[in-house]
């Protein structure tokens, strides 16, 4: 009898253990899968820098980017800067999950551009481990502005190019950061002494404060900045007496707001030329002088094919 009881006693925990076991077995199998990071950023841009994100396959994206007039430039007279806003429009499409191509127009210097964005690596854990996502971005800009300074603007002289290599990591659900080695090349520069090719190393981070809102910050230091004639000290100086100053690095702080198919990005930046080459290398305003611009990027996506 005792022995029979022993047998029963031995079985009872076994059957309990068996149920725990079912779950453990399922979880075991799950651990062998590769899990890719997603939504490292809400949008395809931070402010001026690209993010590692691409719209999904078959998605058409339309963006409207505004930079209003500076806070220190007769702000209220210019209706909070609205009267002298700079605008950029883009339309892009992702034929595959790893490639996005698009067209853009920027009011500043009447610039037209084509761009391509391509996924190189995706951050993942599980079976396949990758610490970062890497996305490339390449674009070519044609400035159609009319000039009468005697220099013949051939097609080539109107072109400039930007390449960004976005190395991003989603550290947690709320915190993501990226470093973006960037190459900017202009075929024609303002002065003979200027660098045609410039290197910048952009950095950016975001912190989500609610599921739909995130704070973003972005800084794009140029390692070999060009110079511009600086009239800020003496606006009436004769041309030969105007001192030259280094262009400033673009610093932007913003908030991302997501509502279904839209992402609204509201920010303050010292970079006014909305397109990449101008924002990165031709920003003359500085945060210290209050030469700041309110701006926004709005994106709308349409799923046009599966």
């Amino acid at each position: 009898m005792l022995k029979r009881f022993l047998v029963l006693a031995a079985f009872a925990p076994l059957s309990l253990w068996a149920q725990e076991d079912l779950m453990a077995e399922l979880e075991q199998a799950d651990a062998n899968k590769t899990e890719y990071a997603f939504a490292t950023w809400k949008g395809t841009k931070v402010v001026n820098l690209q993010t590692n994100e691409l719209p999904g396959k078959g998605v058409l994206q339309y963006t409207i980017l505004h930079r209003f007039g500076a806070f220190n430039d007769d702000f209220f007279y210019n209706f909070m800067g609205l009267d002298n806003a700079q605008v950029r429009l883009t339309l892009d499409y992702s034929p595959t999950s790893w490639l996005n191509v698009g067209l853009g127009h920027t009011g500043f210097r009447k610039t037209y551009d084509v761009f391509a964005k391509y996924r190189l690596l995706r951050q993942s854990k599980g079976a396949r481990k990758m610490p970062v996502s890497v996305t490339g971005f390449s674009s070519a800009y044609y400035s159609a502005i009319r000039v009468s300074d005697g220099v013949d603007r051939t097609f080539g002289r109107r072109m400039s190019y930007v390449h960004e290599l976005v190395i991003a990591r989603k550290f947690s659900q709320n915190f993501s950061a990226q470093i973006v080695p960037t190459l900017i090349h202009s075929n024609l520069t303002n002065r003979a002494a200027d660098n045609n090719t410039q290197i910048a190393v952009g950095i950016a981070a975001r912190y989500k404060i609610t599921p739909m809102h995130a704070i973003t910050v972005e800084y794009v230091p140029v390692l070999n900045p060009n110079q511009y004639p600086d009239l800020s000290a003496d606006p009436l100086a004769l041309p030969m007496n105007v001192p030259f100053s280094n262009f400033t690095n673009a610093l932007s702080v913003g908030i991302d707001i997501e509502t279904g198919g839209h992402v609204f990005q509201l920010f303050v930046t010292n970079a006014r030329g909305v397109a990449e080459p101008y924002a990165f290398t031709q920003t003359d305003g500085s945060w210290l002088d209050g030469d700041l611009h309110f701006g926004f990027n709005i994106s709308r996506v349409f799923t046009v094919s599966n």
Binding site: V7, F11, L14, A18, L26
Partner: protein, 178 residues
């Protein structure tokens, strides 16, 4: 006698091993019916185990494997609602109620109840729902359709999205065991 106990012991655990059926490609679908839009998503990577000996039953649903019609919907589902970075899977662990061992040699259809703990978005609820168990050609499959409430599992739907996402989600599960 001691040897007999040991033998029984080994025999029993061996048997329970043999009586477990499982799948790695189970199907889960959900459907939200709200005034402005209907949202549906499907998942073919659900794993499940059913113990035919005692009726204990579990399934594990990897949240990121839900496929939506729109990529952005899928991203919002994971990022804003299910927080799948924090809670990568939903699970059920429990058993089929009043289980009596089924005969695999006979094709039949049983309407039963399953009950246990459903965990979604890190929140657990005790549930009891109806399940249809089918035996065909020696293979077992289960199918269930039931409603879950977002609010029961701490999934917040912002007021602005109340017309787009229903609080009551209709869930369909289908597991064909091998």
């Amino acid at each position: 006698m001691k040897k007999l106990v040991l033998l029984l012991f080994i025999g029993a655990s061996f048997m329970s091993q043999a009586q477990k059926v499982s799948t790695r490609s189970g199907f889960v679908k959900f459907f939200s019916d709200a005034p402005v839009e209907d949202i549906t998503a499907e998942n073919n990577q659900v794993s499940s185990i059913l113990n035919l000996e005692d009726g204990s039953f579990a399934f594990l649903v990897p949240i990121k494997a839900f496929q939506f019609e729109k990529a952005l919907m899928q991203e919002h589902f994971n990022e804003n609602y299910m927080e799948s970075g924090k809670f990568p899977s939903a699970s059920f662990k429990g058993s089929i109620a009043d289980y009596t061992k089924i005969d695999l040699s006979k094709d039949a259809k049983y309407t039963l109840q399953f009950k246990g703990t459903m965990t979604v978005h890190g929140e657990s609820q005790e549930i009891t729902k109806e399940v249809i168990l089918v035996v065909k050609g020696g293979k077992v499959s289960v199918q269930a359709e039931f409603l879950l409430k977002c609010s029961d599992y701490g999934i917040e739907i912002p007021t602005a999205k109340k017309d787009n996402i229903s609080n009551e989600i209709s869930v369909t599960v289908k597991f064909e065991y091998a």
